[in-house]
């Protein structure tokens, strides 16, 4: 085991805290207002990402992007990044579930088109749901995504393992 060196550093940031300037309340209010100013840009960005997702990976997409984990993961991540503007929609949670699913699928070498499509449909549903879609329903829909992933990815993997075992036995 190597020796550890302990170094004490006084950061310049520490002198910015505690005196002068503005209050935390004021800072947060100004920042909230500044972020609200770019809200529409963020909403437009989410719509564009969702449209791209549907074209490349949705129900009516060709098989071209099948297995492109990285591209789908990047699109879902970008939705999470911009989703602060749709607070309460739970679109970030659905995008997170999609990231989880893609990560798990990539790790196991499984690509289940139906699971991908369901995630994209739920993202669209949450985006278009508007205020009529109650929070409890939104939560149930997102929770459903986790169940779909657990079941479908497990099923696809099990089927693949069974097929491999059969062919190894020459059945």
């Amino acid at each position: 085991m190597s020796d550890a060196r302990i170094i004490r550093i006084k950061s310049r940031l520490s002198s910015a805290i505690g005196r002068g300037g503005i209050t935390a309340k004021e800072a947060i209010a100004r920042a909230d207002a500044a972020v609200e100013g770019i809200r529409q840009t963020l909403v437009d960005a989410i719509d564009a990402i969702l449209a791209e997702m549907e074209v490349r990976f949705g129900e009516s997409s060709p098989d071209g992007s099948e297995g492109d984990y990285e591209a789908l993961y990047a699109l879902a991540s970008n939705i999470i990044d911009a989703s602060a503007c749709l607070n309460g929609s739970l679109i970030d949670k659905a995008a997170y579930a999609l990231c989880d699913m893609v990560d798990l699928s990539a790790e196991r070498g499984v690509w289940d088109r139906q699971t991908v499509e369901v995630h994209i449909m739920v993202l669209r549903l949450l985006r278009n749901g508007g205020p009529d879609m109650l929070p409890a329903r939104r939560r149930r829909v997102v929770e459903g995504l986790r169940l779909v992933t657990a079941k479908r990815i497990g099923d696809v993997e099990a089927a693949r393992t069974a097929k491999a075992a059969k062919s190894a036995k020459g059945v």
Binding site: A4, I6, R8, R12, L13, I17, T23, A76, D92
Partner: protein
């Protein structure tokens, strides 16, 4: 102290600090820029990749670095790892926050070992970002430098070693407490600790 909630009346003056924000997603960079501007930060440098960020680190004295974790060519974890080991003075020990929307299974250890002060989960609100800035500014965590890790001491919660494991700190309680060296307390003695008693004042 890190971890304490900020009070509405806490004060902050970020006018003169230099902050570098790194994210390959322009929208994400815009959110961060807007929030920091709202806090009163005037010197914010944007970088769209780890490569751009390295150039800034080499040329500018930074008071805070906020980087995205997931970036296509080089991720934020590797950027911070480089910063802590090869970033050079004065930025090698600069406070650093890492932002992530989703952490891949394969990157959990990278996140733990990269040398960031705190992780911010996306989508974040300005309140959370300000809270982390307060935490970083208030804390007095030393840096640890060894072969496997360079960064702020990760043992800041002072939870002690896991059960049954011998701690390496002087103040860690021994894993085995050993046999009692004195007789057990009687039930009366135990009761006397809890029994209310009249006190003459």
């Amino acid at each position: 102290m890190a971890g304490r909630q900020i009070l509405s009346s806490d004060r902050i003056d970020l006018e003169r600090v230099n902050i570098l924000i790194v994210d390959d997603n322009p929208q994400s960079l815009d959110i961060m820029y807007s929030a920091l501007s709202g806090f009163g930060v005037r010197n914010i440098t944007k970088a769209l990749s780890a490569r751009e960020a390295r150039e800034v680190v080499r040329k500018t004295t930074l008071d805070l670095i906020v980087t995205d974790a997931e970036m296509p060519e080089e991720n934020g974890y590797d950027l911070l790892r480089w910063l802590r080991r090869e970033g050079g003075d004065p930025n090698r020990f600069a406070p650093a926050l890492i932002c992530t929307g989703h952490t891949r299974l394969s990157q959990i250890l990278l996140a733990r070992d990269c040398g960031a002060h705190f992780i911010i989960t996306k989508p974040f609100t300005p309140k959370v970002l300000l809270e982390r800035i307060f935490w970083v500014g208030r804390e007095d965590r030393p840096f640890v430098e060894c072969e496997a890790y360079v960064g702020p001491d990760r043992r800041f919660k002072r939870l002690g070693p896991p059960g049954g494991v011998r701690g390496r700190r002087k103040e860690d309680v021994s894993a085995a407490l050993g046999e009692a060296t004195e007789p057990n307390l009687s039930q009366d003695e135990i009761n006397s600790f809890m029994k209310p008693a009249k006190v003459a004042i």
